[in-house]
Symmetry: C2
Subunit: 266 residues, 2 copies
């Protein structure tokens, strides 16, 4: 799967690109079931909201086969290789739960702020990917992006370790207000299976979720191999040290996985 | 201004009706300026979020002329009289701030739960009205409604006095999930000047607002005169005791107010 020259131009200018329903309902059905298993398990790689609801599950591709297949999927890997003009490896892999009723906010931030400070990543040549496992509505905590904010590079930030259960380098209100006055705010929504790609310096956040609809997404970072991290300080399952280029799997690998599992269950 | 028979039928079935851009930009400009004055003042009728940002200002029609004019506006009064088949009085009048960056949630609830318990209102024959002073986006804390939930009548609720600065009779998660499975969730959005009417038993709530866009609305309750409250326990500026039917003002009264003020300033 290849992006068109116009899609790449849009990405370079706006800092994000949304591909609705890139994965089929049958593929997402497999992933939803496996993600539910992951989020229901009890491991140190699963971080929780203050009330105990799961917030994010790290590195489930290390122990869950379907999640691992998605991490090598050509519909995700190839567009990112195209943008960077080189091969990529998995820098971070999360399932973000944004639980129904209790999903907490993610304050406004740039992800590269953390990759630079905590991981020693040389350049913002890593791509954020969000794949929708549930339908993303306007009201269940959709990711909000500030278009073109990546053009400002790495913006001064403060370290928020108190607002939520996940420490972040967050931007102050005046900065967010200025950037939104320039670029506006967009919140891509849609059916399960959509894929959102965005720049490591794109400012983003998400509101809390008080609806009965969970908003689970796979949220991962693909880094250009030449841009591998130099000074990791976080656990290996948060900022990976295996810089091997990803070998894409077959395009139908998720369905093949499902067929194998159905046979095993019969 | 009259609703069509079809609009009334929709209201009776769905429990809500949205009239986009019912007030003009010139009218809203007047109201925004006056609402900003109200929210910036320091009075006991203005309640604040835990961090000090204004949450809601009660009864500003008692001391602000433009706010008072809106409370008698025929574009608001006449449709409600039509639905109830009788004249109405002002039961409650608030400006809800939902401040930029810091606007807090309103948990899922029915307003009639409070009117019944705290005010002794005999029937749910009072209409909630929300008039948009700012643009309501999908992402700055839009009111979310559960269509048709008013058909369940007054639903058992628990008194939440801890989650936010405003005590509410809130519904439990299982109930909200069941109602949303039947009716879905809608979140009317649009330009300043839109007016949303909804039933006193319609289940509603709103998420927090982390965006740089405030979401100020006028939020008021018009009660059928025959349904006046019997056992008020809350302050007079929260649950009004003046049951006099509202005399609508002229349709251009807000513009006339603006003209007088411009002249006075010259």
């Amino acid at each position: 799967m290849k992006l068109t020259p116009q899609q790449i131009e849009t990405f370079n200018r706006e800092g994000w690109l949304f591909l609705p329903e890139l994965f089929t309902p049958a593929e997402i059905e497999v992933l939803r079931a496996e993600a539910a298993n992951v989020l229901a398990s009890n491991r140190e790689e699963i971080w929780r909201e203050k009330n105990g609801a799961p917030r994010t599950a790290f590195a489930a591709h290390k122990y869950n086969e379907a999640v691992a297949i998605l991490g090598r999927h050509p519909r995700m890997i190839e567009p990112v290789e195209q943008v960077f003009g080189e091969r990529v490896y998995m820098h971070q892999y999360k399932i973000n739960a944004k639980a129904k009723f209790d999903g907490d906010v993610w304050q406004w931030h740039q992800d590269y702020a953390t990759w630079l400070r905590d991981d020693g990543m040389p350049e913002p040549r890593a791509m954020n990917i969000s794949i929708f496992l549930d339908e993303v509505f306007p009201f269940n905590g959709a990711l909000m992006l500030v278009p073109r904010s990546q053009q400002h590079g790495n913006i001064e930030a403060g370290h928020d370790t108190s607002t939520t259960a996940y420490p972040l380098w967050t931007l102050d209100n005046a900065t967010v207000e200025k950037l939104a006055a320039e670029g506006g705010i967009v919140a891509p929504t849609g059916k399960p299976g959509g894929m959102l790609m965005f720049h490591g310096n794109l400012v983003h956040g998400s509101a809390g979720n008080i609806t009965p609809y969970p908003r689970r997404i796979v949220y991962l970072t693909l880094n250009a191999v030449s841009n591998h991290i130099r000074k990791p300080t976080r656990a290996e399952w948060i900022a990976h040290r295996d810089f091997t280029p990803i070998e894409p799997c077959a395009d139908d690998a998720l369905l093949e996985f499902a067929r194998r599992h159905r046979q095993a269950a019969e």
